[in-house]
Symmetry: C2
Subunit: 364 residues, 2 copies
């Protein structure tokens, strides 16, 4: 299949991945790491998945601290394809900047925004969903991909599907975006069959996105367009931009106004939010899931286990022995070691917060 | 209190401490380490405890690989006080060699043999017990110290007490030594009040020990005395010595013959056999046992814990974070990391065996 005409892949590459400490750090966030066992980083996986659709039309938006490593990891993108934010200002500013630049660069552009740190199992199915979404986006819709939920997660927001979208088989109106529900509420969502996970994937014409933003915050959209007109003013204007997520700034109000459509998709998606989901992911992709012992992300010859299951990440070169522990998580790096369980994976954040409070932010 | 006349402290310093891997190694066994949190090694603790009783009369018997470090750790003992075994031949050969040398050096010697890797909490009470034992040993008895059992352990042998020893208040005849019992049998022992733990502590005149040995194995005793007569023959004669524990070679048969007495003692004893007992030991000595978090052997500032208990040994300089784990054991060394639980502490041996089988004996 050829690349999609005028389709631009936008990759916001931000976030520290605090719950994946000490593997993920502020200085080396999770998108720079191989968490899927693919042999390349999540960022490189994202590029690999999008290159057949976008050709050489990429814009990666990342923090200044990471721009060098992003360029090293993505030589094919080229220096102009990597935008460095002066400071983190959440997803609306990052994706909005890309939209403003593309609006000027290519009047026929359709952009698709996909986070740098998600895992997708079926790249072909992903590509099919994006093609559908691009078709609807060309007609002026803000299109989101809605992931088939595989369990009643309370960790993700949901998209409530409405009617079929005329002229675009496979696409549906969005009734509303709903915030992370309780597990019980999520169960009722799954029972209806009308809800999908919101993975923050948007396909849209840049001008449409900015015009939708302007309806709620005209100055925000105008400032983004000013920057695009004269990028030498980036440092001056950037601090004026509100810190807000694209979901809140655009997607939710636009859905209420009937301007958003969704392409339901099932290509095996995970945001690898914590070590529990990482362990599940590696168990899924493991060639031999019945094998004894914990899953290993890295050099399995370093891991010695006796009567144990879970996840071991040996990243310091040392031997790691695990004895008599189920669903254990051991992450061994050169300057810090984490031991927890899959069930307590969310609490890892507390360690990072504690280190920062105790002037050990150097380790985070 | 002055030192005891002609009392010699014999310290067999051997054993790899396999169940304390990776803290204890063949190349660096547990007696060379600070496991009690005292600030000095178990070997140095043993010297400190015995010096008030023995003055400068020490014989430490250790492996050739460790003689250098033993001498460094015990400068007060002097080079002649450290005997290097050509090869490990179990406790009868090691302690018997010391006995043969002392028999020649000091006709009035009484020797007390105490392992280099045990922890004793009350050094004064220990000293009192040894004084009692020395009195009985001067009268020709093989005297053992019998530890008040604090729980029905299946990990120790027991000493069955008999009648009072006339002329030596506080000493009793030994009916028999019994091998490690089941927990149920141990419970019946404790209920009678007539059983003590066998900690392998013996006080005896050297000639008495060798003569008792000769009753069962005349050649063994004769060979030890030949070595003492001409120590230049050590390498030649040593390999002829049987590999047998002193308990089996002398103590058990002598008890059957009514030649052994016991001084019951309660001074807080532990052989620190595994990480479970090490964790219990550190919980006991902790100044603030109600404190949250795991016990730490080493620099507590390296350990970050959230909702966890157990034992952390941070020995690599790295930060160790433990989240949501009860009775966890984490031992962090520069080349190997162990994660287990107190309940599985015995299985650590399997890791060591596995490493040796897989040509990673360098780590053991």
């Amino acid at each position: 299949m050829p690349a999609l005409d005028n389709f631009w892949a936008v990759i916001p590459a931000g976030g520290a991945g605090t719950r994946l400490w000490p593997l993920s750090r502020r200085s080396s966030p999770k998108f720079l790491h191989d968490l899927s066992g693919s042999g390349q980083s999540l960022l490189q996986d994202t590029w690999t998945r999008l290159a057949p659709l976008a050709g050489d039309r990429f814009l990666v938006v990342t923090g200044r601290a990471h721009q060098h490593e992003v360029r090293e990891q993505l030589p094919a993108v080229g220096p102009d394809g990597v935008l460095a934010e002066p400071s983190p200002r959440d997803s609306m500013a990052a994706i909005g900047l890309a939209a403003a630049l593309l609006e000027r660069a290519d009047p026929d552009a359709v952009m698709g925004s996909f986070a740098a740190d998600h895992v997708i199992r079926d790249d072909d199915a992903f590509g099919e969903s994006v093609r559908l979404a691009v078709g609807a986006a060309r007609d002026g819709w803000l299109v989101t991909l809605g992931i088939d939920p595989t369990f009643p997660s309370s960790a993700f927001g949901y998209i409530h599907l409405g009617d079929d979208l005329a002229g675009h088989p496979g696409a549906y109106a969005v009734r509303e975006f709903v915030e992370k529900p309780s597990t019980a509420t999520a169960e009722t969502y799954l029972a209806t069959g009308d809800y999908r996970w919101n993975a923050g994937m948007f396909v849209v014409r840049p001008a449409v996105l900015l015009d939708l933003l302007a309806e709620g915050d005209a100055e925000f959209a105008a400032t983004l367009r000013e920057i695009a007109q004269d990028v030498s003013r980036l440092d001056e204007l950037w601090p004026r931009l509100p810190k807000i997520a694209l979901d809140h700034a655009v997607a939710e109000p636009a859905a209420s106004a009937g301007r958003v459509v969704v392409v339901p998709a099932s290509f095996g998606w995970d945001d690898v939010g914590d070590f529990d989901s990482l362990a599940a992911l590696l168990a899924d992709v493991d060639a031999n899931p019945d094998a004894h012992g914990p899953r290993v992300l890295g050099d399995a010859s370093l891991v010695r286990s006796v009567d144990s299951t879970g996840l071991v990440v040996p990243r310091s070169g040392r031997v790691v022995a695990v004895v008599g522990l189920d669903d254990i998580v051991v992450v061994d790096t050169p300057d810090a070691l984490l031991v927890t369980t899959r069930a307590h994976a969310q609490q890892v954040k507390q360690v990072v917060t504690g280190l920062q409070q105790d002037d050990r932010g150097d380790l985070t």
